[in-house]
Amino acid sequence: MDHIELSLTQSLDHCIKCNICTSACPVAAVTDAFPGPKYVGPQAQRFRHAAQPSPDASVDYCSGCRVCNQVCPTGVRIAELNARARAQIVAERGMPLRNRIIARSGLVGRLSSGPHAPLVNFTLNFAPARWMIERVMGIHRHAPLPKASTYTFRRWFKRHKPATNGRRPQVVYFHGCSTNYYEPHVGKAAIVVLEHLGFEVIVPPQRCCGLPLLSNGDFPAAQSHHEYNVAQLLPYARAGIPIVGTSTSCTLTLKEEAPELLGLHGDDIHAVAAGTYDIFEFLRNLYEQGRLRTDFRPIERELPYHPPCQLRAHRIGRPVLDVLGLVPGLRLRESRAECCGIAGTYGIKREKYQIAMDVGKSLFDFVRASGQDLALCDSETCRWQISGATGVATRHPIELLAEAYGLAV
């Protein structure tokens, strides 16, 4: 255990027991199955012992949204303490089949996307099938599941021809599972925007970032994914080529979650982390350096925007508001809801579905009250949750930016 490793566990020492975290926790607000972040985090941690059986199970109701970390005045890494405690439980007691499946988003995506996607989608829209899935698998029948795509992003990219050639600065795109299997249009928007800005985009081989595994407690599998991705991305990071992603959860995992939770602190791991950017963070940096094209077409719209928990956990402010705020006519109304409830795979689980819906209620109300037929959000599972709950269409902000640049996707 080196010094950095120590600091995560040691952060429990900062807790002054003030309960600010618990008062802000969206899960504790709607269910008493979760005794709150202070209790399961720094408080319970003093009673945990790596060589003894886990004394508590309620920590599994932590959705990992990290609102606690954000509001904590003293710097306790509450969500990370919780994730580790859950991993110890999983290591001791094993992982339910359901969690083992949903934590492997790459595998699920591979199986459901492609030419047979319409059949998969039809089945997943078929109530009796969902009832069976709930009974057998424990995935709630109403849980928002993404629509599988008939083609993958990677296949599209292989055939994609950049509009211009010649020597251009390079950037690596980390698409993540959702873009590849369910929402290739998000990746396409990212590619055309980056190319419009004069970059040559590289899409190296990549696996799931491992976040679903981390949040379901399978640390060993998450580690193998992360090590693979680091190996693929390292040459670019070493060469100073930025790695950008459209999934705020994938980029957060590369930057911080995987290294911290898994206790991986080699130079290579840190080089990749330090070279990874959320795409709007990257675009905002370009703007600050005067390198962002601002030849936008006006978009006369006022749209609701939800900054997802995973973005807030980057602790970089609101880059989407900063960049899309440059588009003439476009006004984004920021949601102040703590969380949409879904928290990756949390809200699709049978026993947690209602909690997730209750957590998201104020966001759903906000989106509905906007009267708009479109809402923006940077995170895929949050988009599915918002659309599933409200019927309002959702898009990644990069898609709107592509539109503002007048780019066809």
Binding site: D13, H14, C18, D32, A51, Q52, P53, P55, A57
Partner: protein
């Protein structure tokens, strides 16, 4: 004046006195124990909680080492609920003499202290926070023990066997007829009433205060009060007892006990067991020593510092107080000083309390013509009620390791989980539920400090920020019908806050300083408790501040 009569009057409610009372009662000898505070009020309640393997004494005090090794095994058997099987390491750091390692092992074998060398890699696997520059590691059977709970269990057993235990009873006079002590006058500190206790023998088991008691009989017993300062750290950075492998010295041991890790101790001769402070240098020294065992030690949060006074018996000139043997001695004052009717049991350590009691009671029994054998080594001790449920639930965990009746760290958390009691925690840091606080009050705790010792209320990171308020209210609600007034409750809070403050100031920096400020905001800002001081009737004597250990005695 009320007069009681008994065979043996035991003075002192620490581990030794309580142990003697149990042994006496088990053998059918009538006895009364008097203690000026609560059970464990003195040194027993103020030590780091090490269940000695004997390793610390193998070189300088081999007899103690052997006794410890022997008693260690017995205590694990008779009070498993009080003992955590942490195991212990003796480690050679770069600051220690390499050659002592072989001496240590040889002396362990010689004294019967089980020992096994393990690799540094194995040590780091089990305790990753330890210094990787440690060169050799010897594993011994150290453990950690809840001395409050243990002594309460002994007292409970003693009562069940018919012993009478009177807490908050201070000895004001030993009654002498000629050269014989025939009894004592004691004062009930709660009522101010004096009681005469006639007895065949007085057993002076007052520990660091034994010299003061002996003086009342006109005999001299030199007990060197050796002050030992300890610092509790906010969480267990190690789960194994860690000792420096060298001759015992200051700041050379870290004991994981309950939720904290205690680093100890210093050994400073103080003239009076009732008057001592904690010096800043002692704290800085221990942090420095801690750094040698656990790199980054200073960055961890210190919770509190406190000191206890070792009852070291000095019967000849020895160079330093650490050179005084840690073994115990039974003094027959008839033979030694020509005063009969009184024996003093002095020296020793918590781990050997039972053996001390056995040998003392053997002698008393012989004199009283009692031929019953000692049974304290085989009878398992009962669990006090305020601990009962917490203890009973060890079977909740599916893991066989948790099925042992031994204390394990996660036990309180597992209990709260199983009962969905998270919202009912009065002391959130130490996971003490409302039910346990009330059980402690109903079992006879008189004040907040008694409750603290019983259930660890107020001993966690916030040092009472929330739970003092909550517990004082529960005490008030539970006892107001018996005459506990609102001024009692207010004063109890003020007093307990002040007690905590004394232990806090030596370690206030970083997060603990911020915590203290938050506690000040709560009590002075939000609750305005200082504004209630005017409500106490001046000179009403509602709360007696004991001159000795400065805890409060709330008149019930």
């Amino acid at each position: 004046m009320q007069t009681l009569s008994t065979d043996v009057l035991v003075i002192g409610g620490g581990a030794t006195g309580t142990g003697c009372a149990l042994d006496l009662a088990m053998r059918g000898i009538r006895c009364i124990l008097v203690e000026k505070g609560d059970i464990t009020h003195g040194t027993t309640g103020r030590y780091h909680g090490l269940l000695h393997s004997g390793g610390r004494y193998v070189t300088k005090d081999p007899q103690s080492a052997t006794e410890c090794a022997h008693e260690n095994a017995i205590l694990r058997r008779i009070m498993p609920h009080c003992i955590e099987q942490t195991s212990g390491f003796f480690v050679i750091t770069p600051w220690d003499d390499e050659s002592y390692g072989d001496v240590f092992v040889t002396n362990c074998h010689r004294t019967g202290v089980p020992v096994q060398e393990i690799s540094v890699a194995e040590m780091l696997r089990r305790e990753p926070a330890l210094n990787p520059r440690i060169s050799r590691v010897f594993e011994v059977h150290d453990g950690s023990a809840d001395s409050f709970l243990a002594t309460h269990s002994v007292a409970l057993a003693a009562r069940e066997y018919g012993a009478e235990i009177r807490t908050y009873h201070n000895v004001v006079e030993l009654v002498r007829v000629g050269d014989r002590v025939v009894g004592a006058i004691v004062e009930d500190l709660r009522s101010g009433e004096r009681i005469r206790i006639d007895c065949t023998y007085v057993l002076n088991a007052a520990g660091a205060w034994a010299g003061k008691i002996a003086a009342m009989a006109g005999v001299t017993v030199t007990v060197v009060p050796g002050k030992g300062t300890m610092v509790a750290m906010n969480h267990r950075m190690v789960n194994t007892v860690v000792n420096r492998c060298k001759l015992p010295s200051d700041g050379d041991i870290i004991v994981p006990i309950h939720t904290v890790a205690v680093i100890g101790t210093t050994d400073v001769h103080v003239p009076d067991p009732d008057v001592f402070g904690i010096e800043p240098e002692e704290i800085q020294f221990m942090l420095d020593e801690g750094e040698k065992l656990i790199p980054g030690f200073r960055q961890y949060r210190a919770l509190r510092a406190w000191a206890g006074v070792r009852p070291l018996y000095k019967d000849k000139d020895v160079a330093s107080d650490r050179d005084i043997p840690r073994t115990f001695k039974l003094l027959d004052h008839e033979e030694r000083d020509g005063v009969s009717g009184i024996l003093s049991i002095v020296g020793g350590k918590w781990t050997t309390y039972r053996l001390m009691a056995e040998q003392t009671v053997n002698e008393l029994a012989r004199r009283l013509g009692n031929t019953q054998p000692c049974r304290t080594a085989s009878e398992v001790l009962p669990v006090p009620r305020f601990e009962h449920r917490a203890h009973a639930m060890v079977t909740v965990s599916p893991d066989p390791a948790a099925q042992t009746p031994h204390y394990w760290l996660g036990k309180p958390l597992a209990l709260v989980e199983s009962e969905h009691a998270a919202g009912d925690l009065i002391c959130e840091c130490e996971l003490v539920t409302r039910d346990r606080i009330i059980a402690a009050i109903d079992a006879g705790a008189h004040n907040l400090d008694d409750i603290r010792r019983d259930v660890r209320m107020g001993m966690g990171p916030c040092q009472g920020g929330w739970c003092i308020y909550r517990t004082a209210n529960l005490l008030y609600e539970r006892r107001c019908a018996d005459g506990l007034s609102h001024t009692h409750a207010n004063e109890a809070m003020l007093h307990f806050l002040q007690e905590r403050w004394k232990g806090l100031t030596p370690v206030l920096w970083g997060d603990q300083l911020r915590q203290a400020r938050l506690d000040e905001l709560i009590y002075a800002g939000v609750l305005g408790i200082h504004r209630l001081r005017a409500l106490a009737e001046p000179g009403g004597g509602l709360v007696t501040q004991h001159p000795a250990i400065a805890t409060e005695y709330v008149q019930a």
